[in-house]
């Protein structure tokens, strides 16, 4: 304790000593076009840790360190989306006010990025593509989840919300699907700390025996707070993520939070109020919406504050939100509390400290859907299962008399009311960063951080519910805890040297991360209705699963520049990981890249034209990996209790040669700034090859062994990526900007290493699955293909290719228009070339709810007997164009809001207003998980009793004061 006090006093003295006798540097940063102050601009003395950020009006002021006061200083002004600016200040000018005008930069050639580089690097030097999204770009979007927020924002990443269930997972597609083993979600870092992205399926019954995840896989992305974000960077898997090693083949998404403001405390507050209404576009029966859905309310209240000087800064934000959901009896309600703080402190002239803390509390409710069994609303109504559920009804809902429909409605109302499934998340994250700059050209950064996420799912199946759905089982209470603890430790150093025309940027570092996934199930059977603790049950059972993995890596990167236009990028990472087999040593991930900025050539600059302003050509080769399941490398004996004693059997077969699957990526790219830099165009061609792909393969049945994880596959993804931003009109009053992207992908499982085909999701092979098989894309739809003669089924062939679930073309588009203080924005996503299977439609045949899609002659002759034998009739194109958001925002003039309020805006946004689809079911609302899927890889494509994302109409008021 005494030591702690001494350290605290020492630090305070240090801070205090810096505050004396210093020159104050101040000024304003404004946007060139809008001629308004720019907030959040980083202002820093080059080669030191001294600096600040601009306040809401673009003003800044900070003390020049005593040691620097007598020197000529270079002040660097940087902001995401703007061309950086350097200003040399003579000692005599230090007291003058600086007026800096920043120019927007669509090409972002000189933007400084961090993700994938160990430390800060100017994009100019990079051979890979980094997408950065500024706070301004996200500010007006009312989305409350990070993945939903990013929809349409990253040109070459598609975020599809897999279901409208609260907290349901998203499916991310970037450059195809590299893995048939692991979920395609990129790894996520918050302020340099690796956080849970829940890309492994739960090992206990959460998906199998009535746990509510069965309704929809739960996403850890849904509870990362969206408050206080400064910027987000995204890099694709491959050369860009090589420095992340065994964990980054699907790309890296890094969120940077605000650590400080400028000057005295600035406060902000916001209120979002809105209406949520169900997306009924894809319902088959008109009356389903009357059975299951209703409108709900949405509200979010947020507050925040920031401030600081060059020695100390802070930023905090807190929000409470509640969405009633669109299901009756509020069965999809979500309630969230987010809290985030950031601090920045200069401890010494050479040493700064930054930290962020985040807390999230999320409570959500889930209804049963899809394969939950017994009763689930959509299965009951849309799939015809009303025929067999409860007292049994005529499943043709729209043909029922009003009196009969009233009976169905009363049954459903009670069934929905009697459901009680909840999920609670408590999540705590912190990042602690120390940055040391002992020399002008040498920087060290030490990062330490924790992500601790606890999730408790509770599924109450009451006696009343069981009786209602005609089940003779007793009431049960199932609880599942899933606790994730992630530790990240990273030490990085960067040395910057210039020798003649050459510049060298040397980055080296070490990283260690450690994850623990601890799952506990505690289940009570035969319990009184209303008893909500397991101890009150007649029989109690429990189960536990523990997985731990440690990855330690060293990396080294050398970026060599020549004459500010030729760059060579070399790097390697070596990883050891506890999940690797005994015989596998360190795994190495090399990268190599070149970039050439043609427009920096003297001849180009002398060329008097405004059409082509920037030309950058780049090419790279790099490797990134995905590590195997922890402990799958060891051969074990499995133990469990059986009739009062221990019982043993074969556990996992083990694999001493287990290693990461590695994605080898080749990429060439072109970045262009055209039409006086009002058009930015990026083109990439990528060719990725996942070698040693991890497949969970079944050994011969006669071995009696369970499936084994082996490195035997080869998967390729190739494609083109185009993205463009066009500033159509730009002046003080008007700003019209359009952006669009198009990405193609050609995905192929080149080899399964002789292993038989296996399924990712779906039911059994007799029905419909998404399958991995040599010579086909990952996760294609497999099922029975029927041959008809005169409209009657003549024969069928099982397990046929019925369509690829992976769209061959994806992209997004956005429009931003500003007229004076009024802004309008619209964002959309689209995809083409994929297929889905409409299992709801097929199920309706089985239950006689409809004969749509099947030749009349077949129904007349065989009724529904062959319903599983012509699955191709239910495969539809999954093409869509979906408008994600359309919004209007008005910023009030200062003269209206008065001097006490710095800024005020009102807005209205429609979320998910319009869907244009080729299919009769929602291409995004897919069956969650699947009883027999391996790992948790999914490509979607099976549509089965899943809810669509609701529409929202949200009004927003934001005030800064």
């Amino acid at each position: 304790m005494r030591i702690a006090n001494t350290v605290t006093i020492f630090l305070l003295l240090l801070v205090a000593s810096q505050a004396f006798a210093q020159q104050k540097l101040q000024g304003t940063v404004t946007d060139q076009v809008r001629q308004k102050g720019l907030s959040g601009v980083s202002v820093q003395i080059s080669g030191t840790q001294a600096g600040t950020v601009t306040d809401i009006n673009g003003r800044f002021s900070f003390n020049v360190p005593t040691a620097a006061a007598s020197k000529t200083l270079t002040i660097v002004f940087t902001a995401v989306g703007y061309q950086p600016q350097e200003r040399k200040i003579e000692p005599s000018q230090q007291s003058a006010s600086l007026d800096i005008i920043l120019e927007e930069d669509l090409v972002k050639l000189d933007e400084v990025v961090v993700t994938g580089q160990g430390m800060s690097v100017s994009k100019r030097r990079l051979s890979t593509n980094v997408t950065s999204i500024s706070e301004a770009q996200l500010r007006d979007l009312p989305a409350n989840r990070i993945d939903q927020l990013l929809q349409s924002q990253i040109p070459n990443a598609q975020f599809k919300m897999s279901a409208g269930q609260a907290g349901a997972t998203s499916i991310v597609q970037t450059r195809g699907f590299n893995s048939a083993f692991s979920n395609s979600t990129p790894i996520v870092y918050v302020d340099g700390v690796r956080v849970d992205n829940l890309n492994t399926a739960p090992a206990l019954g959460m998906t199998l025996s009535g746990g509510i995840s069965q309704g929809a896989s739960t996403s850890a992305l849904s509870d990362i707070p969206v408050e206080n974000i400064e910027k987000i960077e995204f890099i694709n898997g491959g050369a860009a993520t090589t420095l992340y090693g065994s964990d980054a083949a699907n790309g890296v998404l890094q969120i940077f939070t605000k650590k400080r403001g400028s000057g005295k405390a600035n406060f902000r507050a916001g209120v979002d109020l809105g209406l949520e209404t169900p997306t009924n576009d894809f319902l088959y029966f008109n009356r389903t919406k009357d059975l299951l859905f209703e409108n709900g309310g949405y509200r979010k209240y947020s507050i925040g504050a920031d401030g600081g000087n060059n020695d100390f800064g802070f930023s905090m934000a807190a929000a409470y939100s509640k969405s009633d959901g669109v299901l009756i009896h509020n069965q999809n309600q979500v309630e969230k509390i987010d809290f985030r703080t950031g601090f920045h402190a200069k401890l010494l002239d050479q040493l700064t400290y930054e930290s962020s803390f985040t807390y999230n509390n999320q409570n959500l409710r889930r209804t049963r859907n899809g394969n939950s069994g017994g009763y689930s609303g959509l299965w009951f109504a849309e799939d015809g299962a009303s025929k067999i559920t409860g007292p049994g009804f005529n499943p043709k809902l729209d043909s029922l008399s009003d009196a009969d429909f009233a009976k169905v409605k009363a049954f459903v109302d009670s069934a929905e009311m009697l459901m009680n499934n909840t999920s609670k998340v408590n999540r705590f994250q912190t990042s602690q960063v120390l940055k040391l700059q002992p020399l002008k050209n040498l920087v060290f950064k030490g990062t330490f951080g924790v992500d601790y996420r606890t999730q408790t799912e509770v599924s109450v199946v009451s006696n009343a519910f069981n009786r209602h759905i005609r089940s003779n089982t007793t009431g049960s209470l199932s609880k599942y805890d899933r606790n994730y603890l992630g530790l990240t430790l990273e030490l990085t150093g960067q040395y910057d040297a210039t020798v003649g025309d050459f510049s060298f940027l040397t980055t080296g570092g070490a990283q260690l991360f450690r994850n623990q996934d601890h799952q506990i199930a505690y289940i009570g059977q035969d319990i009184r209705d209303g008893a909500l603790t397991v101890n009150q049950a007649a029989t109690r059972t429990s189960n536990e699963y523990l997985a731990e993995v440690v990855n330690s890596g060293l990396f080294l990167q050398e970026n060599v520049g020549y004459k500010n236009r030729y760059y060579l990028d070399l790097g390697v990472r070596g990883d050891n990981n506890s999940a690797f087999g005994k015989l596998i040593g360190t795994q190495y991930y090399p990268k190599f890249g070149v970039s050439y900025i043609l427009s920096a050539e003297p001849f180009f600059q002398k060329w008097q034209q405004n059409f082509i302003k920037t030309v950058k050509v780049r090419a790279n080769y790099g490797v990134a990996g995905i590590f195997p399941t922890p402990f799958a490398n060891e051969r074990t004996i499995a133990f469990t209790g059986f009739n009062g004693g221990q019982s043993a059997t074969f556990g996992q077969p083990g694999n001493e040669e287990l290693k990461p699957e590695k994605s080898y990526s080749k990429e060439i790219g072109l970045d262009l700034g055209l039409w006086n830099s009002r058009v930015s165009l990026t083109v990439n061609y990528f060719d990725n090859e996942t070698r040693d792909a991890l497949f969970v393969v079944p050994p011969a049945a006669s071995t009696g062994q369970t499936n084994t994880l082996k490195n035997i596959g080869l998967i390729t993804n190739k494609g083109w990526e185009f993205s463009a931003v066009v500033s159509v009109l730009e002046n003080k009053d008007w700003d019209v900007r359009v952006r669009a992207s198009a990405n193609t992908v050609d995905n192929l499982v080149v080899s399964t290493g002789g292993a038989p085909s296996f399924n990712l999701n779906g039911m059994t092979s007799r029905t419909v699955q998404t399958v991995v098989k040599e010579g086909f894309p990952v996760g294609y739809i497999s099922g029975n293909y029927g041959v008809f003669k005169d409209g009657v089924l003549e024969s069928y062939t099982p397990q046929q290719f019925l369509g690829s679930t992976i769209p061959t073309l994806t992209g997004s588009a956005g429009l931003n228009v500003r007229y004076k203080n009024l802004s309008m924005f619209a964002n959309a996503d689209y995809q083409q070339g994929g297929y889905l299977h409409n299992w709801d439609k097929q199920f309706r045949i089985n239950y006689g709810a409809s004969t749509d899609g099947v030749p009349a002659a077949e129904i007349a002759k065989n009724g529904a007997t062959n319903w599983l034998n012509y699955s191709q009739l239910f495969v539809e194109k999954s093409d869509f164009i979906k408008i994600r958001t359309v919004g209007l925002v008005y910023n009030f003039d200062k003269k209206i809001i008065g001097k006490h309020i710095k800024q005020m805006s009102v807005g209205i946004t429609a979320v998910n207003p319009l869907n244009f689809t080729a299919s009769s079911s929602d291409p995004e609302a897919v069956m969650a998980g699947g009883a027999q899927g391996q790992g948790s890889a999914t490509t979607g494509g099976l549509n089965y009793a899943a809810f669509s994302m609701p529409r929202q109409f949200i009004g927003t008021l934001k005030i800064n004061f």
Binding site: N472, Q525, T636, A648, F650, G654
Partner: protein, 476 residues
């Protein structure tokens, strides 16, 4: 510079601390650390009992719908075995083979690795492991025409499977000290010889049981609390969708397994060997030898001595409303049943489950009475009664499919991993006399007359095809 030194010291400490975070402990037990430990063989044996239950879950639930006993009236479980359509690519074909393979391999591993290394093992444990290994081989011979008995090894014929079963059972008999257990092994021997069509040995072993242990009952136990529920119980009683529906003429025998109170805590056992079988084997062997009177007497003894003395229970079966793909199952006790279009309408086969508690037969039940046997004066007539009794007595125990002559194929995954498997061994055996397209499960229901008529009386079909391969082995 002083500060830099301090910072470097702190960084060095951080690096040292992080090195301590590099190790993880696997919370699971490896096979090397298990073999040779005390009690390892008894724990392994308990694991084999568990595997027996898991294997029966596959075997019983799949073969019951493949036969005429049950129709899968919901979308749960397999939807094509009913037709019957049995493709080697069907995941359930692999699941069933894998479950049997696991029991086989556990016996092998137990006898070669675990028992020799465990000083605490006993002869009785050794005997039981041999018995369960034999039972796995018995199932292999009954359910398949060909199956590898070693891991990805040579394919054994059904006869070779039975031979291996006989060797296991004889070893078990030699080791076992408990006379009651020995009786069980002897009945298992009778069943293996029955499969091999070895009339003399089958009859001899069967008569030993008739003489010494007519009420013999060896059961596989389940443990719902530990996640091993009886699937057949779930599908015939516990499931809210009443997954499986019995052929109306067998309605009075459904369910055999039920729970009272919490389903998990009350999972009924499945009989794997019972005294009834000794009588049925003996009677069939006698018919095969032309001793019709002896056979008739044996079957009458079976009813009076064994079946009538088996326990019954009174339970509430009102949730079984047979609402599913077919909702026209008869539900009233007043409904009469015709075994096929040419048979007379007979009462007593349908239980009025809504009218009050029903009586269930926990071990065995049959509609055949002494008078029916007395009336069966020809070989075929007696054979018909025998087939009907076998079907009714073994209801919900997974035996009927084999009796019908149907055999499962070797799975696709096995073929892809095992070069010994020939293409023809991946084809199911479905005899031509088996009506396809759900014919075995089909019936017509004349609600006005209150008569339900089966499309086919498969026992009549069996008698007509008694010479066919794979059925009625004691006649061969």
């Amino acid at each position: 510079m002083k500060n830099i030194s301090k910072i470097l010291c702190a960084a060095g400490l951080a690096v040292l601390a992080s090195c301590q975070l590099k190790d993880v402990d696997n919370p699971n037990i490896t096979d090397e650390s298990f073999v040779g430990t005390t009690q390892s063989s008894s724990i392994w044996l308990n694991g084999m009992y568990r595997q027996l239950a898991l294997t029966l879950n596959e075997v019983v639930s799949f073969t019951e719908i493949t036969s005429d006993n049950y129709y899968n009236n919901s979308s749960l479980s397999n939807k094509v075995f009913d037709f019957p359509t049995i493709l080697y690519s069907d995941l359930d074909v692999d699941n069933m083979q894998r479950a049997i393979g696991r029991l086989t391999q556990m016996a092998d591993y137990g006898l070669t690795r675990i028992v020799p290394a465990d000083v605490t093992t006993t002869k009785d444990i050794n005997a039981e492991i041999n018995f369960l290994g034999g039972y796995a081989c018995l199932l292999s011979g009954e359910l398949y025409n060909a199956l590898p008995l070693t891991a990805a090894g040579q394919v054994a014929s059904a006869n070779e499977c039975f031979q291996k079963a006989v060797a296991y059972f004889n070893a078990a008999i030699a080791l076992q000290t408990d006379a009651a257990k020995k009786n069980g092994y002897t009945l298992a021997l009778a069943r293996a010889y029955y499969g091999m069509a070895n009339r003399t040995n089958a009859l001899q072993a069967a008569q030993t049981i008739i003489a010494n242990a007519p009420m013999l009952l060896v059961e596989a136990k389940f443990d719902g609390i530990n996640g091993v529920s009886n699937t057949m119980q779930t599908y015939t009683f516990s499931s809210s969708t009443n997954t499986y529906a019995p052929l109306p003429r067998l309605d009075f025998l459904d369910p055999k397994y039920y729970h009272v109170g919490t389903a998990n805590a009350d999972q009924k056992s499945i009989a794997i060997l019972k005294g009834e079988e000794a009588y049925l084997i003996a009677a069939e062997a006698m018919i095969g030898s032309g001793q019709l009177d002896n056979a008739r007497t044996t079957l009458k003894q079976l009813i009076s001595t064994v079946v009538n003395n088996r326990p019954t229970a009174s339970i509430n079966g009102s949730q079984a409303q047979r609402k599913g793909n077919r909702s026209d199952y008869p539900l009233l006790a007043s409904v009469q049943v015709k075994f096929d279009a040419n048979s007379p309408a007979r009462p007593g086969f349908i239980l009025g489950r809504q009218a009050g508690n029903i009586t269930v037969r926990r071990v065995s039940g049959t509609s055949v009475m002494a008078a029916d046997l007395d009336a069966a004066t020809t070989e075929d007539a007696l054979l018909y009664q025998l087939c009907l009794m076998r079907q009714e007595i073994f209801m919900s125990e997974g035996r009927r499919m084999t009796d019908l002559g149907i055999r499962f194929p070797i799975s696709q995954v096995e073929m892809q991993n095992n070069p010994n498997v020939k293409a023809e061994q991946t084809q199911a055996v479905i005899p031509s006399y088996i009506p396809g397209n759900l014919g075995m499960d089909n019936f017509g229901y004349d609600r006005t007359a209150g008569i339900v008529t089966m499309n086919f009386d498969m026992n009549r079909v069996l008698v007509q095809n008694k010479k066919a391969a794979g059925v009625l082995p004691m006649l061969k």
